[in-house]
């Protein structure tokens, strides 16, 4: 039996990136906020000081900062005819745990999606005709436009201090920036990071071929920066221990480095760590959330009543909590009806390995978001007519690390062990680069999330079941984009290259990205979306859901810039409309 606690005004489930943004905004407005986080408290000085943060085995290989599969995992299958089996050890993605969420151990590649990405279905149908799209593709417009989101992209970037070079200021194209980006109201808060040798050579080659290279926008800062909350970040030292690691220099934007020092000073805020939310409770009408229940690390169950609930538990766990709480209609593959679990999507990454003679790249000099990119082949920035697929991605010489367990490449054909392997590792470590493609992944009828019928978590609750495979459209795209990338790399005159496009079935084993998307998407129609355009549940008006969960499909970028913008957009509507008159913000 759950012990009932005194009521509070606002409960936030998960104190990661979006939970922290919401907690700051709502406490500032004077509300009493309780954030419930399943993982531990984490802070720079105690949890990832420079003295032992750069530990590849512990953090990158043995996943010290991530949630343990024994604690919770999911099952996976490529298609509905297979039996889904549990992910016993993490591979394709790495799910978060603890204060700061995945914001602690992200790369901090901080992008805005393209204006056309938000009106994707309308745009592609107008340009190519409905028949151009595969019949089982279920892409949708988001219900919000780039112009509406622009001030909120800006807010997230100024919170983080993002380092970059603007390509479009209020409609004016800027040299050295991304000419394809949507107009921004002002420059990036800090200039772009310095670029190592590999990205500089790659950008020269791209430019000679008529492309428009620009520095990747980075949340690892080029210089010290004080954000609007008054929190100061330090300059990045290019240590190359970002993704999968906490930053010991206070230079990577994270809840710890941008929000928590202010939040923890507010007397109307409280965080409960080591507490896993198991359910959102509804009143008898099923239209209002009344409380959340959670279990602490001693196994005791608590009930926390609240007036408003924010579900900020990362994409995958947001969907799980909605399904386990009976909120919204679960997606049914057979009928195509229902919304919770619908339109799961991912990211289609690929790369080109290039081995050089007489070049020393010092690839270990890196940051999680360093490199030179082009957007010429992203979204609908090029005519897809001749190619028979839709979608695209940014590509570039982005090398976030050269940590030796993960990044000691050998040319194709090298034995896996023995003297020849050892020599190849030695000869190629400093002189190899790995330019990459970050491709979109659109949504399909048979890619979805539901509850597994067999496997349970440690509380006896069903695990989430992921049914997902790459579709022909995405595989064609990956081939095309990887070929374009290889052309640029060839111009750098390497000794040898290896093209590594995505082929075949999606595998849960090799790491690709933690950009899992969808499952409780935003939209304009409750029949095809779980949330309205303000991230408010269509069914339960005092429940808002944030994260890549909101994406109807994924674009050719990392998600968090857009996740941050959507969170601020939702908060704007909450402050201006919802709090004055709590109820549905959009009438279906």
């Amino acid at each position: 039996m759950a012990t009932k606690l005194p009521a509070t005004e606002i409960v936030i489930i998960g104190l990661g990136w979006t939970g922290s943004i919401i907690a700051e905004s709502m406490t500032k407005a004077g509300f009493n906020v309780v954030a419930i986080e399943r993982g531990p408290w984490r802070d720079t000085a105690t949890d990832f000081p420079p003295s032992y943060a750069p530990d590849e085995l512990r953090y990158a290989v043995q996943h010290d900062l991530f949630v343990r599969p024994a604690q919770t995992t999911l099952t996976f299958r490529n298609n509905p005819n297979q039996t889904a089996l549990p992910i016993r050890t993490w591979g394709s993605f790495l799910l978060p745990n603890g204060v700061g969420g995945a914001g602690v151990h992200w790369n901090a590649q901080t992008w805005r999606f393209l204006p056309t990405d938000f009106v994707l279905k309308t745009h592609l149908t107008q340009r190519y005709g409905a028949k151009f799209l595969p019949a089982d593709m279920t892409i949708q417009d988001w219900g919000v436009t780039y112009d509406e989101l622009e001030p909120h992209f800006d807010a997230f970037e100024y919170l983080c201090g993002t380092s970059g070079t603007a390509g479009n200021l209020k409609g004016q194209k800027q040299p050295f920036g991304n000419p394809f980006e949507g107009p921004r109201s002002r420059p990036y808060p800090t200039p772009a990071q310095k670029q190592p040798y590999g990205p500089v050579l790659w950008a020269e080659a791209a430019k000679e071929m008529g492309h428009s290279p620009f520095p990747q926008p980075s949340g690892n800062l080029s210089q010290a920066y004080t954000n609007p909350l008054g929190v100061t970040l330090g300059p990045c030292t290019y240590c190359g221990f970002c993704e999968r690691f906490g930053c010991g220099n206070y230079s990577k934007a994270s809840p710890q480095t941008t929000i928590l020092p202010v939040l923890m000073r507010r007397t109307n805020f409280e965080a409960r760590t080591g507490c896993e939310v198991t359910r959102i409770k509804l009143d008898n009408s099923g239209k209002r959330a009344t409380a959340v229940t959670y279990i602490d690390t001693q196994g005791r169950e608590w009930e926390q009543p609240a007036e408003m609930v924010f579900l900020c538990a990362f994409q995958m766990f947001n969907v799980q909590l909605l399904l386990l709480s009976g909120i919204g209609q679960p997606y049914d593959l057979n009928t195509g009806q229902g919304v919770i679990g619908r339109n799961y999507s991912y990211q289609v990454t690929s790369s080109v390995q290039a081995f050089f003679d007489n070049k020393i790249f010092n690839p270990f000099i890196a940051s999680g978001a360093i490199g030179m990119c082009i957007d010429d082949y992203n979204g609908d920035n090029f005519d897809h007519g001749p190619y028979g697929f839709v979608g695209g991605g940014y590509m570039g010489m982005v090398q976030p690390n050269a940590r030796p367990i993960e990044a000691t490449p050998t040319p194709p054909g090298t034995p896996q062990w023995g003297a020849a392997w050892k020599k190849a590792v030695k000869d190629n470590y400093l002189s190899t680069i790995l330019p990459s493609v970050h491709g979109s992944c659109y949504s399909y009828r048979d890619c979805y999330l539901d509850l597994d019928p067999t496997y349970k978590d440690r509380f006896g609750r069903p695990l989430m079941r992921l049914t997902f495979d790459f579709h022909e459209n995405e595989l064609k795209m990956s081939q095309f984009l990887t070929d374009r990338l290889a052309e640029i790399v060839q111009r750098m005159a390497p000794r040898q290259i290896a093209k590594l496009p995505r082929t075949g079935h999606y595998s849960i084993v090799p790491y690709q990205t933690t950009h899992t998307c969808g499952g409780a998407i935003m939209g304009t129609d409750p029949k095809t979306s779980a949330l309205n355009r303000y991230l408010q549940s269509w069914d339960v008006h005092n429940l808002f859901v944030t994260g890549a969960t909101n994406f109807p499909q994924n674009a050719g970028y990392n998600p968090t810039g857009t996740i941050g913008a959507l969170t601020y957009w939702s908060l704007d509507a909450i402050h201006k409309q919802y709090l004055k008159n709590p109820g549905p913000l959009v009438h279906a």
């Binding site: 290989v61 010290d64 604690q71 690390t297 001693q298 000099i365 000691t408």
Partner: protein, 268 residues
């Protein structure tokens, strides 16, 4: 100690871990509670309530640095198993004129200590049944832990070698024979006690590489030999002066998180 080695329920809670560990440096639990009473409304095993108002919660000695591997006898392997694994890792990564091989780099010591710890017992992984036949895309579905696999396969390898090579264990064979056996494990042509040795080969190769390249604090990569071989400076953490120096070899020697001269437990 890495959080890997904490029990699953305690994994998410550094503080429980802290209290369970008898470390003389730590203040008593009562002193700890008193000094942070304003912050900690409730302090249970792991679950904490952090009330806002006083700033970032902070407690002395809350850090969780890794525990350095100490030199000494095998912890997990029997002496015979240890000798076999040293021979295996020294063929997977053979010594050459400039760089020590797997054995002298401590790869077997690394594997020994890993198998004795969280990794060996698959702690933290999802180990609930049923274990069913999987597609390659679904990943490993093995009910046995790495420790069980190593023990089973090392026993089988020993039996195979003694039966085939006139009573000699793997470590006593000439290099050519060792390589022939490893190749058979790699390509699946060698069955050990009726099962393919390939999964064992794969895990052994992976763990050997981890030991070769990981920070020396874990017992391998002795003298940072692997890092020196490839030119990786380790835990230097600051390259601001070097990011824009192109096509130049970084001149400074590597450092370990255990210190500048760390990682040589056998060569102090």
């Amino acid at each position: 100690m890495s959080a890997n080695s904490a029990a699953v329920n305690a994994i998410s809670c550094r503080s429980a871990d802290l209290h369970a560990r008898p470390t003389p440096k730590l203040p008593s639990r009562r002193a700890l509670l008193a000094s942070t009473a304003l912050l900690l409304v409730t302090q249970t095993a792991g679950a904490r309530t952090l009330a806002g108002g006083t700033g970032m919660p902070w407690r002395p000695f809350a850090g969780d640095p890794p525990q350095a591997v100490e030199p000494g006898p095998w912890v997990f392997f029997t002496p015979e198993e240890g000798a076999a694994v040293e021979a295996l890792v020294d063929r997977l990564i053979p010594p050459d004129a400039e760089t020590a091989g797997g054995k002298d780099c401590g790869c077997a010591v690394f594997i020994d200590r890993q198998l004795a710890g969280a990794y060996g017992s698959a702690r933290g992984l999802y180990m609930s049944p049923p274990f069913l036949q999987a597609t390659p895309e679904q990943g490993l579905q093995a009910p046995s832990t790495p420790a069980q696999l190593y023990h089973r396969m090392l026993v089988a390898l020993d039996a195979f070698c003694r039966a085939t090579y006139a009573g000699n264990p793997f470590a006593q064979l000439p290099d050519g024979e060792k390589d022939r056996i490893i190749t058979g494990m790699e390509n699946g042509s060698l069955q050990l006690q009726g099962t393919s040795a390939t999964p064992f080969f794969e895990i052994l190769l992976q763990d050997t590489r981890y030991g070769f390249f990981a920070d020396p604090v874990y017992g391998g990569n002795r003298d940072m030999a692997a890092w020196k071989m490839i030119g990786f400076p380790g835990a230097r953490y600051d390259y601001r002066d070097w990011v824009e120096r192109y096509n130049e070899r970084y001149p400074h020697p590597p450092i370990s998180i255990a210190g500048r001269n760390a990682g040589s437990p056998l060569h102090p």
